[in-house]
Assembly symmetry: C2
Homo-oligomer: 395 residues x 2
C-alpha cells in the first residue's frame, strides 16, 4: 500500500549524526563525532552489585509495572539533590522520572504546542531537541549564541515577531554543540524576556554536573518565580546513557499534564534502573563519582584545546568550554564546510558538521562540533593534527 504519512513526519529524516556513525566502523577511524559519555564514567562494579541486590531483595518491584511518575524513593533523592546542588524545587514544583532527558523535552513541547506554534532555540542547538520539536509540528526560530549566551536583542526580536511562541529552549551550561556557558546576567535577561512575552523556558541541563573550570552559574529554575521553567536533568552523563533515566522538574499543574503524555508514550520508565539509580545515590558516593568524571573531562578538554592551539591556523576559532563534552570550531572565512568534512572523512577523521545543529538547516555555516569525551589522548592529538592539515590543504 502507499502510506499516507502524517504531514509532520512526511519530511522528517533520521538525524545526520546517525548517518555519520555508519562510517565509524572503519579500521583506524578517529571520531570526534560522538555525543557519548566516556565508558570510564560508568560505575560498572557498583551497578553489578546493586543489580544483584535488587534482583535478590526486590525482584517483583523491579520487574512489575510501575507508576508513570517514577519510582518514589528515587524521586525523593533527586528532589533532595536538585535542592542541595542547584537550589531547585519549591512548594509548587514536582519532579518525575522520564526515559532520558530527550523524553522530558519532547513531552514538554507535546503538552504545550499546537502545530505551527513557535519554539525559540539557540542557533546552533541540540539536534535531538530540534527534531523532537519538528516532529510535533512546532516551528523553530533560532537565536544566535554569543560568548554570554543567547543574543538578547535577537531574542527579543524573535519574541516580538513571533507572537505564537510558546517555549524558549535553552542549554545554558556547557552547551551542545557550542560548548558555551551563559552568564548570570544573560540568564536574568532571558528570563525577564520570557516573563515579558509570557513564554515557558525549557532548561536542558544534561551536562550541568560536569563543570571542570570556572564558577557555577545559577540555573534558570533556581531563579524561577512564576513556574515558567521546566528543568530537564539526566543520569546519562553521570551514571549511564544506555539505561535511559532522566528527570523533569516543573510546576505541579504542568507536570500533571506531562505525566498524562508520558503514560501514553511508554507507561513508565524501566523500574529496575530507577531502583539502580536510587540505590547508587543512597549507597555510593555520587558526588565523588562525578568529581572523577570532571577530572577526566578536564584532562581531555585541556588536551584538545592545547592541541588546537598548537596546530590550528590562527584564522580557525574555537570555544573553550568550562565543562561538558563538546567544543565548537569554525573554519576560516571562505572555506567550504562540506569540502572540509569530505576531506576529513577521506583521512578517517570524523566530526559533526554544524549544519546538523541549525534550526534552519539550509542556513550556511562554517562550524563543526568536536567531542572529547570518547577519543583517547592519542586520538585527540593525531586527529586534531590531521584536521589542521586538512584545513591548510583547502586554502
Amino acid at each position: 500500500m502507499e502510506y499516507k504519512i502524517s504531514n509532520k513526519f512526511k519530511n522528517m529524516k533520521p538525524s545526520a549524526i546517525r548517518e555519520i556513525f555508519k562510517s565509524l566502523g572503519r579500521p583506524g577511524a578517529i571520531s570526534f563525532a560522538a555525543g557519548n559519555p566516556s565508558p570510564e564514567s560508568f560505575p560498572v562494579d557498583d551497578f553489578k552489585r546493586i543489580a544483584n541486590d535488587i534482583l535478590t531483595q526486590e525482584p517483583i518491584t523491579a520487574l512489575q509495572y510501575g507508576i508513570t511518575e517514577g519510582y518514589a524513593p528515587l524521586r525523593e533523592l533527586v528532589k533532595e539533590r536538585l535542592k542541595r546542588v542547584y537550589s531547585i524545587g519549591g512548594e509548587s514544583d514536582e519532579t518525575i522520572i522520564v526515559t532520558g532527558g530527550q523524553q522530558g523535552i519532547e513531552l514538554c513541547c507535546k503538552v504545550m504546542c499546537n502545530e505551527g506554534d513557535v519554539v525559540i532555540c539557540e542557533n546552533p542547538s541540540f539536534i535531538g531537541a530540534l527534531n523532537a520539536f519538528r516532529s510535533l509540528g512546532a516551528r523553530l526560530v533560532g537565536v544566535p549564541l554569543n560568548e554570554e549566551g543567547m543574543d538578547v536583542l535577537a531574542l527579543e526580536n524573535a519574541l516580538k515577531s513571533n507572537p505564537s511562541t510558546k517555549i524558549i529552549y535553552t542549554i545554558p551550561s556547557f552547551h551542545n554543540p557550542a560548548g558555551i556557558t551563559s552568564t548570570l546576567e544573560n540568564r536574568k535577561a532571558v528570563y525577564a524576556l520570557a516573563q515579558k512575552y509570557d513564554v515557558l523556558i525549557i532548561e536542558d541541563n544534561p551536562y550541568g554536573d560536569l563543570r571542570f573550570s570556572g564558577e557555577n552559574v545559577p540555573t534558570y529554575k533556581s531563579m524561577d518565580v512564576d513556574g515558567r521553567v521546566v528543568y530537564c536533568g539526566s543520569f546519562s552523563k553521570i551514571l549511564s546513557a544506555g539505561i535511559r533515566v532522566g528527570t523533569l522538574t516543573a510546576n505541579k499543574e504542568l507536570v500533571s499534564k506531562i505525566v498524562v503524555a508520558k503514560q501514553v508514550e511508554d507507561v513508565h520508565t524501566n523500574v529496575f534502573f530507577q531502583m539502580v539509580c536510587y540505590r547508587y545515590i543512597k549507597e555510593c558516593d555520587l558526588e565523588a563519582h562525578i568529581e572523577k568524571i570532571r577530572r577526566l573531562y578536564k584532562h581531555k578538554a585541556e588536551l584538545m584545546i592545547s592541541t588546537l592551539e598548537k596546530y590550528m591556523p590562527k584564522d580557525v576559532s574555537f570555544t573553550r568550554p568550562q565543562g561538558g563534552i563538546f567544543l565548537w570550531c569554525s573554519l576560516p572565512e571562505g572555506m567550504k564546510l562540506s569540502d572540509f568534512i569530505a576531506r576529513c572523512s577521506d583521512k578517517n577523521v570524523f566530526v559533526v558538521p554544524g549544519t546538523a545543529f541549525l534550526p534552519n538547516e539550509s542556513e550556511p555555516t562554517r562550524s563543526f562540533r568536536l567531542n572529547y569525551s570518547m577519543p583517547t589522548d592519542d586520538e585527540i592529538e593525531n586527529g586534531i593534527k590531521i584536521i589542521a592539515q586538512v584545513i591548510e590543504s583547502l586554502r
Copy 2:
C-alpha cells in the same frame, strides 16, 4: 504563569484505571482491576544470573547509548521467533525494539495521523491505546465487538462514513478488556475491508502467546499481502512488564519513519534489558517458560469462570477467554454500573468499569473488566462471591 496547554492535551485526563489503583492499598482489598501479569511469570533467577553475566562480560555495551532500532542480536531472535511461531515477517518487513508495546502503538499513530484523522477501534478497547490516539489529536470511532470479533457490517459503515480513516486498531487475540478472540473468517473480512478502504491495521498482540485453550488463529500480519499491518508485540506478559521492552514489525518504509519518531521520544529502549531478553531467549527455554504461564492462567481463568458460573445470577453475562488475563462481565439490564462499582468498592472489591474502555466515554455501558492473573485463588473465590452478592443487593 497561566499555562497555554495545547488543544490536544487541554482535556486529557489521567487514565481512570490509575485512579482506581489509589484505593488498592486498603487492607483486605481484593483487586480484579489490574492489568499486570502475575509475578510468577517473571524468570527472576535467570534474570539475576544473566544480569550478572552482562555486567561482567559486556558492561559498556549495556550502559552506553545504543541505536534507535534496537539491539541487533535481539532483533534477529525476535524475527526468527515471529516467523516460527506466527508466520510473520517477509522480505519487505522490518522488526525494531520499542519501549513496550504501548510505544509501538503510539509511534504508529504519530507517523500516520494528522489531527482530526480517524482511528477505528473496537468498542471496548485498550485504554492506553485510546489515550495515545486521543493525545495525538486523532478522532476515535468505535466498532462493536461480537463473539466473532469486530462487527463487520458496523466496520464497513464506519469506514464508509469516515473517509479520513487512517488506521484500524485491533487486539484480535484475548482482547483487553473483552477477553474475545476473533475468528479467522472475521480477520479475513476485516483485512478485506482495510484493503477496500485502503487503511492500515495496527495488530496489538501482547497476549498472543498466552493461549490456554482452543485453536490458534493466524495473525493479521501473517495474512498481510500489501504491507498493511503493523504488528505490535511485547515481552511484558511473558518475561517482565517493568523492563519496558516491546517489538514492532511492519513494512520497511513505514518502519524507517517510525524509527525517526522513536528517536525523538527516547533515543532508544534501554539496552541492558534488550540484552537480557536476548540472552534469555538464547540461553533459556522461552517456550517452556510461556507454557508455565499458560498453565497458571488456565487455572486462574477456569477458577474464575467456574466461580462466576456457580454464584453469578443468570442474567449476568460474561466472556470465556481462551487466553490472556481478562474477562468481560455485563450487569443485568436496568442495573446502574456506577452504583455497582461504588458498592463493590464499599465491600473492598475492585473492578474496572467498562466506561474506561469506551472510545466514546459518554456512552452508557453495563460492563466491567475482571482480571484473573493477579488475584490469588482465594481472592478469586471470595471476590466473585461478593460481586454476586452486590448484584443481588442492587435489584
